[in-house]
């Protein structure tokens, strides 16, 4: 299970003058869940679409299952599964018929009923695709992407535009794929999603990796350390804390202090106790990938949904689960 299934070396993609991918390297081992994380337009989709043999590359090397994407695209396509961004299937075919349709495109094909069972779609087996909710459409999409029994499955923004419940549904599916021993390549602009699901991930911005490793490694390397939040401090508390930690942040009575060493927390409690003031509660938070991204790029990642372009409007039409 430690074979390298994806090797990307010095990948560059240019569209005329614009450099979409500016030299990235990574490898993925069999059975891993690897995420590409980044804001819209960072180059995530371009990167996966080159791996999926949908786009050409400008320079560099990309090997999928030992095959060169520029030389054996059809062979690669036969052995990978893809859930494209904004996935859609045939509206007037049922779940089962859609799986069989796409299955028929490959050299080998798993029985549709097995996939329907695996994706927990038995009840919707004979439902037209157009009548499914957004979450069920995505699950059908994953079932379709597994129809050729691929070794690697690419999920390109599988949860964008889904409501929270449907999103959790997709997460469960990703975990299930991992249990089945599949290698999963996931792109997302939700930090939380990447953190929860990935074995390893790469944060991509302006076509380059700004961090690469396990979520833990990345947070440890680039994180800001744990923080202590004291909520509803009164004036005497705030003044006392400010004396000890001049760099603390204070927002509407909530005080945030960066914990630089392990003695910091007892010292805070001691200071609060001494001040004789009132506060509500003390909370310690670990930094998240979101914080890492903020530190590395100075911008927020998925704070708000991207601008609703024509493309996005279509997604929001997906029914809620």
């Amino acid at each position: 299970m430690t074979d390298t299934v994806i090797e990307v070396e010095g990948l560059v993609k240019k569209y005329g003058q614009l450099t979409a991918i500016d030299g990235i390297d990574f490898t993925v081992k069999a059975g891993e869940v690897f995420s590409l994380l980044g804001p819209n337009g960072a180059g995530k989709t371009t990167t996966v679409e080159i791996m999926e043999c949908l786009r050409t590359l400008t320079s560099g090397k990309v090997h999928i299952l030992g095959m060169d994407v520029t030389k054996e695209p059809l062979k690669i396509k036969n052995r990978i599964g893809v859930l494209p961004q904004d996935f859609n299937a045939f509206d007037l075919l049922t779940v089962k018929e859609n799986i069989e349709y796409f299955g028929g495109m490959f050299d080998r094909q798993l029985p549709a009923d097995d996939l329907i069972k695996a994706m927990d779609l038995t009840e919707k087996r004979d439902e037209y695709f157009k009548n499914l909710s957004g979450g069920l459409k995505q699950r059908t999409g994953v079932a379709i992407s597994m129809v050729n029994d691929p070794e690697i499955i690419f999920l390109d923004e599988p949860t964008t535009g889904l409501d929270p419940r449907a999103r959790r549904d997709v997460w469960a599916v990703v975990r299930d794929l991992k249990e089945r021993g599949k290698t999963v390549i996931l792109t997302t602009h939700y930090m939380e999603e990447a953190e929860v699901l990935s074995d390893r991930l790469g944060i991509i911005d302006h076509g380059r990796f700004i961090a690469l490793g396990t979520p833990r490694q990345i947070i440890d390397a680039h994180g800001t350390g744990s923080r202590c939040i004291i909520s509803h401090c009164d004036n005497s508390c705030t003044t006392a804390l400010k004396g000890q930690w001049p760099t603390m942040e204070s927002k509407g009575g909530d005080v945030v202090i960066r914990l630089e060493n392990k003695n910091a927390l007892p010292e805070i409690i001691y200071t609060l106790d001494r001040s004789g003031g009132n506060y509500d509660q003390i909370q310690v938070t670990r930094p998240t990938l979101e914080d890492v991204f903020l530190t590395l790029t100075g911008k927020k990642l998925a704070a708000e949904e991207p601008e609703p372009t024509a493309d996005k409007k279509k997604r929001s039409k997906r029914k809620a689960d």
């Binding site: 996935f87 859609n88 509206d91 379709i144």
Partner: protein, 365 residues
């Protein structure tokens, strides 16, 4: 490879029959065409001209004259009361042709009657095409009567035959045109709609992630369109035969022409869809291209009547050759000309298919 084409074909067929309104319009369009043309051109009474007659003579001789005209079965006779005020009657009933038999009609038959003893008056609406026909009919009968009165015999006689050896109905001449038109509209509009839809909703994107190639997919669509076209041809034939007693002679050349025409116009649809991305404008563009072609390619209006510059436009339109090939093979039985026209259609089909495969894009950007 063939398996992928068949799978795509099957999927398209299932979706088609489930989209009830698509099925309805696909069948309704040729059906409407054939019913319209059948009603306009069938000779079961519809082709007769109305002739109003005011018989001022009201004599046995004038009755027998009218009876003779009636026997030709080419006019509907409507009689006007001899006491009626004709001008008022014309105002009230808007007849397009009125024959007035004068009161002195019998005079002509009295032995020894001089020249111009009596005069038949035909009042016509000159804007009506039938005016000439009505006048000729009356003129012919007057001539016959003159000849008879003069005691002459017919030295020259005429007989009427069809332009072809087989007995054809008028509608038979239009069926090839209806079929040609159907092959064009069905395939071009389908292709435009399916390609813009699949591109915009991401189905093409998903298809590109599988091993199917563009040429395979396009071939599957063309094959599927052949099924739909032959379904339409069947509707046209069955309705034509049952309702209008049409004769269908679908020979090998006609069938090959239908296949090639479907391929050519499917490919044309692909090319239109390549350049116009949203579904509504793409189908408007398809309309803008097919509609003039319908009139210019001599399917319903003979291109020989066009001014020369328009005729040269007709010469470069594929539909012209489809219509000619079908008419030559199905009606005139002129196989040499039919095959020549069919080969032109084949050349169009090959060029358009290759251009379609190379030009069509599956991706959004």
């Amino acid at each position: 490879m063939t398996n992928r084409i068949l799978v795509a074909l099957k999927g398209e067929a299932k979706g088609f029959f489930r989209a009830k309104s698509t099925v309805f319009w696909t069948i309704a369009f040729p059906l409407l065409l054939i019913l319209l043309f059948g009603a306009i051109f069938s000779n079961s009474g519809g082709g007769k001209v109305d002739l109003y007659i005011q018989d001022l003579s009201d004599s046995p001789l004038s009755h027998s004259f009218v009876e003779n005209i009636n026997a030709t079965d080419s006019v509907n006779l409507i009689s006007i009361n001899k006491t009626a005020d004709l001008d008022q009657y014309i105002k009230d009933h808007s007849p397009t042709a009125v024959l007035i038999i004068p009161a002195n009609f019998e005079q002509a038959f009295i032995p020894g009657a001089g020249p111009n003893a009596t005069q038949l008056l035909v009042r016509l609406d000159p804007t009506q095409q039938s005016a000439g026909i009505v006048y000729s009919i009356v003129y012919g009968f007057a001539g016959q009567a003159n000849l008879m009165l003069a005691g002459g015999t017919n030295v020259i006689t005429t007989a009427r035959g069809d332009i072809t050896n087989t007995q054809f109905n008028y509608i038979d001449f239009f069926i090839p045109g209806v079929i040609a038109l159907t092959t064009m509209t069905t395939t071009a509009f389908w292709m435009v709609s399916v390609m813009t839809r699949y591109r915009n909703n991401g189905i093409f994107k998903k298809l590109t992630t599988t091993p199917i190639t563009r040429a395979e997919w396009l071939a599957s669509q063309i094959l599927w369109q052949l099924v739909v076209v032959f379904l339409s041809v069947a509707v046209i034939s069955i309705v034509g035969m049952l309702a209008f007693n049409a004769h269908m002679t679908l020979n090998a050349v006609a069938i090959a022409t239908i296949i090639l025409s479907s391929a050519a116009f499917s490919s044309m649809g692909m090319i239109i869809a390549r350049f116009i991305h949203d579904e509504e404008s793409a189908s408007a563009a398809a309309n803008a291209i097919t509609f003039p072609m319908m009139f210019l390619s001599g399917i319903f209006f003979p291109a020989s009547q066009f001014p020369s510059w328009l005729a040269s436009v007709a010469n470069i339109l594929p539909l012209t050759y489809v219509g000619n090939a079908l008419r030559d093979s199905m009606v005139y039985d002129n196989m040499t000309s039919a095959i020549g026209n069919m080969l032109v259609v084949a050349v169009f089909a090959v060029i358009l298919f290759i251009a379609g495969v190379f030009l069509s894009k599956w991706k959004t950007e």
